[in-house]
């Protein structure tokens, strides 16, 4: 079996526009400005849509940390979103609404789940890793569906959004927007400094050449496990926010289709860039929203669009942008 992911595209050369901080700064400034623009037109709609984009961007960042830098293609990452969301939902149904409790619980549960499953998953490689993460994702999905006291298949309504030390800061849509933006920025900075750190160099080295890293004396399994747990916790964070944004928790958050969508977002944007994950999440969700406004059969357009990106733009949207730039410069 050829190791499928070890050969996956290396991070594109960091040059020009994308080398420094121009792109991420532009992205975050844009996000920060959206609420001001939104006051002119359809404020609630725009805010909730972009909040959703940022929440999925957080999860996509975590997945990019695994795929882009570790060649660990997880097909069960939605499970962590679900775990974070269910932490809010279940605690809420018992009257515990404070983020000081539910956020640590959400992070802790998803971290523990990542640790327990990571120990098993990281024994396998390539396609087998994809499938075993799918397996654990499905187990989480079916467990959630069987939680009869908490709505089972139907999911459960979050009657009250989280408070922070008693303050209802999540209730206001605009406040929630900026909270999500803050968490997105934090997640981005964490991932970025992680990748650049000594830890990150070992972790990236394990993707390029596991044998060499092992023979230098690194136990790469441990590095990958730590990265897997961190990615899981960031996924849990996005679930925590999602439950607050939608006021609803359902097993559908953990379905394999959702995991697949996350994968598509990351690949669509361009793996191994972090900015690409955010752009991919935005491009995916906004294109979906835009096309579904045009026709109910939007998938007939969106599907071929994905095919075109895959065939003509390896490296996703960022890869495409990089190549266009090089063409223009000659």
């Amino acid at each position: 079996m050829v190791d499928v992911t070890a050969t996956s595209t290396p991070a594109p050369p960091r040059r020009g526009l994308f080398s420094g901080n121009a792109l991420p700064i532009a992205i975050f400034v844009l996000f920060a400005l959206v609420p001001f623009v939104a006051t002119f037109k359809a404020e609630t709609y725009v805010l909730s849509l972009v909040t959703r984009v940022m929440i999925f961007a957080i999860a996509a960042l975590a997945l990019d940390l695994l795929i882009g830098y570790g060649a660990l293609v997880s097909f069960g990452h939605a499970a962590f979103i679900g775990l974070g969301a269910y932490a809010v939902g279940i605690l809420g149904s018992h009257g515990v609404n404070d983020a000081l409790v539910s956020l640590p619980v959400a992070l802790g549960i998803s971290g523990l789940f990542a640790l327990a499953t990571g120990i098993v998953c990281l024994r396998t490689k390539g396609v087998y890793f994809i499938m075993i993460t799918l397996a654990f994702g499905q187990m989480a999905f079916f467990t959630a569906s069987s939680l009869a006291p908490y709505g089972g298949d139907d999911g459960l309504t979050v009657r009250m959004r989280s408070t922070f030390a008693g303050l209802p800061i999540f209730t206001n849509d605009r406040a929630l927007y900026y909270i999500c933006l803050g968490f997105l920025l934090a997640a981005y900075l964490i991932c970025r400094s992680l990748v650049a750190s000594r830890f990150g160099r070992v972790y990236r080295g394990a993707r390029e050449n596991p044998q060499r890293m092992a023979s230098i004396g690194f136990e790469i399994y441990r590095y990958q496990l730590v990265a897997y747990v961190i990615a899981g916790m960031i996924g849990g964070l996005s679930g925590f926010l999602l439950a607050n944004a939608t006021d609803f928790v359902s097993p559908a958050y953990m379905s394999w289709q959702r995991s697949g969508e996350l994968l598509i977002m990351v690949i669509f944007g361009g793996i191994g860039t972090l900015s690409g994950a955010i752009i991919g999440a935005a491009a995916f969700l906004l294109t979906e929203e835009w096309l579904s406004g045009i026709t109910e059969h939007w998938k007939v357009i969106f599907g071929p669009l994905l095919v075109i990106v895959a065939v003509f733009a390896p490296g996703g949207l960022l890869g495409l942008a990089n190549r266009l730039r090089r063409m223009i410069r000659g």
């Binding site: 293609v73 599907g303 669009l305």
Partner: protein, 308 residues
């Protein structure tokens, strides 16, 4: 947990297993030989069913519809290969995933536009629509037996083709080292096309055969695709024998699990939690099975590649 129920459910499990094999066989070969992740394999199965319904509507004869639908599925599969897939063979797996995912979206919506969102049904041939008495007191639908029989027939055919023909030999060689086969002067692209076309046809055949007992609807291929992936991973990618055994295993475990989970859970807990925990455990069983198999044998039961 009566014996007759056990027998009936075992047969149902076999029938699911055989169906899974028909889909997984193509998937594992395409994956093993071409190193190509084809998520669109599930929609080929759906397409087979829809084409059969369409041709049945035109001709009114099941057998004619079967033959025409098989041919159409083959043509369509080769067309897809020609337009999209062949540009992606040398690419990263992630590019293949995104492209074939796009095809899934397109085709699922496409059949919705062409045939509507509501489920269709395909009547089974009159002569095979009854039930037979297996044992005193046990009736079993003939059509399910036909599915089991035809699936086993295909398995036998594949066994002969793969193990006792020249093309089969090349396919086996391709699954263990495609680059070497190509270096020895075999037209690997043509081999790919044969394998791909055959796999597509098998998936279409599975869709046609199951159509009379399942509703034909958009998205019917998605769940079965995941199950087929579970099968080929348990069996070991590229191995027909592995796919066959794993398909039967998954079919039996899933079906028997669903029928008896509640009863088994009752042995350990009160009836009311058993009723909620049972189905959840049952749905999880095959994934549990896959996780355990991969934990013990990270390359599946019968890995085709020598290295794994």
């Amino acid at each position: 947990m009566s014996t007759s129920l056990l027998i009936v459910q075992t047969l149902n499990g076999l029938q699911l297993g055989v169906l899974l094999f028909l889909i997984a066989a193509g998937l594992t070969l395409v994956f093993g030989v071409m190193d190509f992740i084809n998520l669109a394999h599930g929609v080929q199965y759906m397409l087979g069913a829809y084409l059969a319904v369409m041709f049945y509507g035109l001709t009114g004869n099941f057998l004619t519809a079967l033959v025409l639908a098989l041919g159409a599925a083959l043509v369509f599969g080769l067309l897809l290969e020609f337009i999209v897939f062949r540009h992606l063979y040398d690419r990263d797996h992630l590019d293949q995933v995104i492209a074939t995912f796009g095809i899934i979206l397109f085709l699922n919506q496409g059949v919705k536009i062409l045939w509507g969102a509501s489920p269709l049904s395909l009547p089974m041939p009159e002569a095979l629509s009854g039930s037979v008495v297996l044992m005193p007191g046990i009736l079993y639908p003939v059509w399910r037996l036909v599915i089991i029989g035809s699936g086993l027939g295909v398995a036998l055919l594949l066994y002969v083709l793969v193990n006792h023909t020249r093309v089969g030999m090349l396919v086996r060689a391709g699954a263990s080292n495609a680059a070497m086969v190509s270096a020895l002067g075999v037209n690997i692209r043509r081999l790919f096309m044969i394998v791909f076309g055959f796999g597509t046809m098998l998936a279409g055949f599975a869709g046609i055969m199951i159509a009379p007992i399942l509703s034909v609807e958009p998205g019917m291929g998605d769940t079965i695709l995941i199950l087929a992936f579970v099968v080929i991973v348990i069996g070991g990618i590229g191995s027909i024998r592995g796919a066959f055994l794993a398909a039967l295993l998954v079919g039996l475990v899933d079906t028997l699990g669903r029928s008896f989970a509640v009863d088994i859970m009752r042995l350990f807990m009160a009836p009311s939690p058993a009723r909620t925990v049972g189905p959840a455990i049952a749905s999880m069983l095959i994934y549990l099975l896959m996780a355990v198999v991969l934990y013990v044998r990270p390359g599946g039961l019968f890995p085709a590649k020598g290295r794994s």
